[in-house]
Amino acid sequence: MSDWKSYEPTLIPNIEGMHQLDTYRKHGGYEALHSVLHDSKKWPDPSSVVQEVKDANIRGRGGAGFNAGLKWSFMPPADGGPRYLACNGDESEPGTFKDRKIFEYNPFLFIEGATIAAYAMSITTIYVYIRGEYRSWIKKMEKAVSDAYDAGLLGKNIMGSTFSVDLVLHSGAGAYICGEETSLLESLEGKRGYPRVKPPFPAQRGLWGRPTTINNIETLSNVPGVIRNGATWFKSIGAETHPGPILYGISGHVNRPGVYELPSGMPVMTLIEEVAQGVKDGKKLKAIIPGGSSTPILPAKDLENLTMDADALRGAGSMMGTAGMVVMDEDTDIVETLWRISKFYHHESCGQCTPCREGTGWLEKILEKVVKGEGTSRDLDLLLDITSQMEGRTICALADAAAWPVRYTISRFREEFEARCKPSLVPVG
């Protein structure tokens, strides 16, 4: 892919003052919502909007990659009662720092996208859950939301139509688990963020027992573009099976870390060498974590022809996740890095399920031993054993997210772990 240099960003365009409503509208902002509400030839009913979004195949940018329009189509028919859209701005997966860029640079794009989604699913209230640490960005959003209300773009009879919806900002208070969609619902209801057992799925019984859809902030921000330019346009951007713009967050040992908007399917090496301008201090690349801390690590030798889309990454033995890529140079202590990741998941486990509560604790403890040079190669096998007892056995996917890095980092960098270990003690007879 060589045309990325001429790619025109649509989520975070390089336009001064885009965070202000008049500038946003001057550049086509709210044309999509207007068309949805008033152009009954193009959009005869809400389900036509759902269909267009489904055709576009916006794969969820929160990590799971599920087609947004397809998810919307799971909402039961409206029955006159309340229905909710919960927007996920919890953004807490280590390596991920993209949604806050939308809050800061293009808040109305997200608000417009959420409003269109609300129309498409006959939503009565939109709740936007933002991690509590993002206080500075919540303040920016408060201003944007209040401006949207003042301009008749939220609230009663939006843009002079019969459609009305409210939007409420809700601050978290420090808990990674609240990014998990059902934990987020519990937190919005004012409780501890314990994930719910599924089924029932949120589309059936979500917030206060009513139909609810949960989408990531970046996912919803792609909606106005799809409505304005069509699903075909969206599908023409980037990788065929995972189309559209992606906010790549690049961090770690690179010269120019940051969030870059580019088409999906970017070659990993182009992102590292050209976009982020190479590994720092002229060092060699050792490995990357492609999409947030839970996605399996990939050694440099596997990155040659790899592209950033769900299928290619799965083929390489990892995942797209949040496209928050963490780059590690040749001097990185892989053992210690894995221990730090495990410490995170142990800290964030909500403790409801025994395999997760106990498993994350053991992973951290044993890895700490290995870091200190006190582990044995039996401990490495024990770690792998613990991961297989955690995966797929819990209420939510945090346990899997904690297990994957351990499983794959040990299997892909076993020599480095072995080198840290004492020889196994052979029992003396």
Binding site: E16, P94, G190, K191, G193, T337
Partner: protein, 200 residues
């Protein structure tokens, strides 16, 4: 670091807590945004913490009474979320991220520097009640590592020991660092961008 002069808020909290009329009005307005009153537990704990500096058991009781919810519910929520201070902390709480990307970029060195400078260990508060030092999990600023958050509010990015010292001086003198707008890098050049998201 000087440890004299300031009142030790960490050991002399006021003994009774109440919301002002304005705050009660704010709480009523919040309730209108949700179908059930329980949903305002988190927002009201925030109002309380911003006002009293913490949500200790007495403050939790006030929140429960104000919302007519069981104390055990409010307590359970306050305990679950790490940003709520269940006891008084220093005037400035420094949350230094040592998670994945910050850990790779020197976050732990920043913690060690602060420990030396403040004469305390992680998790402790200086004797003058000015600073509490904490280690944080990923704060969503991974590209600007290492970084810290100050008392649940502003982020300070790209930390070096020199920058940390400056921030401490600033906090002691009574001002808070400004919001740091980080220009979005452009893809094909090293120039900064025209985008501005933070100049209101």
């Amino acid at each position: 670091m000087a440890k004299k002069g300031s009142k030790n808020t960490a050991t002399n909290p006021p003994t009774s807590y109440s919301f002002t009329k304005e705050q009660l009005k704010e709480i009523e307005a919040l309730k209108a945004k949700y179908p059930e009153v329980q949903a305002v537990t988190l927002p009201v704990l925030w109002i309380a913490q911003d006002s009293f500096g913490h949500v200790n058991p007495d403050v939790q009781a006030l929140v429960a009474k104000t919302l007519d919810l069981p104390e055990s519910h409010v307590h359970g929520v306050a305990e679950f979320y790490t940003q709520y201070f269940k006891e008084p902390k220093g005037k400035h709480v420094l949350d230094v991220c040592t998670c994945l990307s910050c850990g790779l970029s020197g976050g732990v060195d920043i913690v060690r520097h602060l420990e030396k400078k403040l004469g305390i260990n992680v998790g402790e508060t200086t004797a003058d009640g000015q600073f509490t030092l904490q280690e944080a999990e990923c704060l969503g600023a991974c590209g600007y590592a290492p970084m810290m958050q100050i008392t649940n509010d502003v982020y300070v990015n790209h930390l070096t020991p020199e920058k940390v010292d400056k921030v401490l001086d600033q906090l002691i003198s009574g001002s808070t660092p400004d919001f740091e707008s980080i220009a979005m890098p452009l893809v094909d050049s090293t120039h900064t961008t025209k985008r501005g998201g933070s100049n209101e």
